[in-house]
Amino acid sequence: MPGPDALLQMYAGMLRVRLFEERVRELFASGRIPGFLHTSIGQEATAVGAAAALRSDDYVFSTHRGHGHLIAKGGSLRGLMAELYGKASGICHGKGGTMHIADASVGYLGANGVLASGCVLAPGVGLSIKHRKSGQVVVTFFGDGAANRGPFHEGVNMAALWKLPVIFFCENNRWASTTAHALSAAGGSIAARAAGYGIPGETIDGNDVLAVHEAVSRAAARARGGDGPSLIEARTIRWGGHFEGDAQAYRSREEAAEGRRTDPIARLAGVLDARGLLDAAHAERIRAQVAAEIDVAVAHAEASPLPEPEDALTDLFAYYPWRD
């Protein structure tokens, strides 16, 4: 069990993701943020529990639902918010946006608009880690739907074959876009697929941040010890639709209610309260502090200029002194 400070940091971390996503939903609804939006409300424990088990120089590959992973890894809220606005001050200067953002300074090597793509990029990072003997690990997040794509299987096989320091972290939120897990994944269990590749696979409660922290700590220790990859399947619940504006005709209202009953933030608050680490006043102070961070990020994004249109021509190549 992590110490009191670490527990409180996880609590604040999950709240930061929750409040950020709620704010982003409002800004999207009011037209301040362009594009398609996938929020991770309800899934905060996977991002925060995993990141808390990592070193600051470890790497993460993320998904189309990746704001939480970036925030948990320590990415700049200001840079992220400005990127969602499409502003020049965004981490990617407005070229990436919500689904294609990266913050290399914290080892976050990219959200991805294509499912399971991180599963084949991560083994290469594993090769680089082995070459440099740096003792780092790389976590690649993907959803239950992505586990049905070829790159998942190719990536797990390669990482297992070469004992690469990769953690394959499946966030099973029950829905592959609008198709139920049971209607898209044969065999039901994603974790069970690990057995075919001879690596550990475990299913955990993805709404329990402590369970996530423990599983990732174990997988990271194994990876750093040179024993290769692990597969973790974290069962969680996506409170919202696949995307903002999704009418969710495919699922019952009961599921969202179930999500709220198993709220990972309330759950950790209960643990902290029982240990005398968090009373209502303290919780309110944390909430106010996190909300203030988000206010600063929004103000920064609002005040930042849009990119100049011709900036679309920069950043394609590191070296390109030619005329096309």
């Binding site: 981490i91 990436g96 290399a104 990219g110 790159p151 590191a318």
Partner: protein, 323 residues
């Protein structure tokens, strides 16, 4: 100057670059034995299994892991085995490798090389014979080389390894055993620099890879009739040396563009547009194109021969533009 073949020139470049830079490694299917084209044969003896990675038959993981490695400090050289198989890694090439630097606002460099053995011949059939370079010319974010001689192959591969961006090197499999002089000293061929393979005053033939050799043969035949053909090899398609191409056209006023792949939506179509843009007023005749028919490459020898463009086709196109 030593005379070696195209495949050995590529192997030489790999050895030189792997000796120079410990971050360079090779990955691909069957590369320890160097099957089927022999380019990587023997590398493992000098560099060991950690730098010559015989990968499972997992094109997405091979190409994807190259990107992951490149983003975090290594310099991978991928052997695509047959360029046709890149379809199994198309997301990795088109969405990930080509776009990562751009989408991330320049935060990461992706210094990697995809070696793409490709091309028609010896009844390879529909999944082992295609000229697919045009697919990639249409994807912003990739640099693309297509050498025709051993010296160019070695020099371009060395440059590609040292380039900070992703480079695709198209190696026509019909050229691997073609020999040529290769300098003793380490010699790099820069990207974006075309080479005039034969000088001539009457017509410019812009040709790539195998079609350079077919065009040189056409030029020899036409010279007997007093027609002097200039054969210009762009060597890299992205970046493209517009200056050398245009300078040749301004001298000859006639242009033939020769490539192996299908006519429709091709590299040659784009080169024709570049010539139009650069020097339309210098043209004395419409541009003629030599390119394959719009069919998959068939298996049976007469069918494959039907799909294969040869010196005869170049000769015919030259006569057409000079008519």
């Amino acid at each position: 100057m030593p005379v070696i073949d195209f495949g050995d020139a590529l192997g030489l470049a790999l050895r030189e670059e792997m000796r120079r830079d410990p971050r360079v490694f090779c990955i691909g299917e069957d590369i320890v034995l160097g099957v089927p084209f022999g380019v990587t044969r023997g590398l493992i003896d000098e560099f060991g299994a950690e730098r010559v990675l015989n990968a499972p038959i997992s094109e997405a993981a091979i190409v994807g892991s190259a990107l992951g490695a490149a983003m975090t400090g290594l310099v991978p050289v991928v052997d695509m085995h047959f360029a046709d198989f890149v379809t199994c890694a198309m997301d990795e090439v088109a969405n990930q490798i080509a776009k990562s630097r751009y989408m991330f606002g320049g935060q990461v460099d992706c210094p990697l090389v995809l070696r793409m053995p490709y091309g028609i011949g010896r009844s390879g059939g529909g999944h082992h014979s295609n000229s697919v370079e045009a697919w990639f010319v249409n994807i912003p974010g990739l640099k693309i080389c297509i050498p025709s001689t051993p010296a160019d192959a070695r020099g371009l591969l060395k440059t590609a390894v040292r380039d900070p961006d992703p480079v695709l090197l198209f190696e026509h499999r019909g050229l691997y055993r073609v020999t040529g002089e290769v300098p003793e000293a380490e010699t790099l061929v820069p990207l974006g620099l075309a080479d005039v393979k034969r000088a001539g005053r009457d017509v410019t033939v812009i040709a790539t890879a195998r079609m350079v050799h077919e065009s040189l043969e056409a030029a020899r035949r036409l010279a007997e009739e007093g027609i002097e053909v200039e054969v210009v090899d762009p060597r890299s398609l992205v970046p493209l040396d517009r200056t050398t191409l245009a300078a040749s056209v301004r001298r000859t006023h006639h242009v033939v563009i020769a490539e192996e792949g299908p006519m429709r939506g091709s590299t040659g179509a784009w080169l024709a547009w570049v010539i139009m843009e650069e020097c339309f007023d210098d043209l004395d005749a419409p541009i003629a194109r030599v390119a394959g028919p719009n069919i998959p490459i068939p298996f049976s020898p007469p069918l494959e021969a039907f799909a294969t463009r040869r010196a005869d086709d170049v000769v015919g196109a030259v006569r057409q533009v000079l008519k």
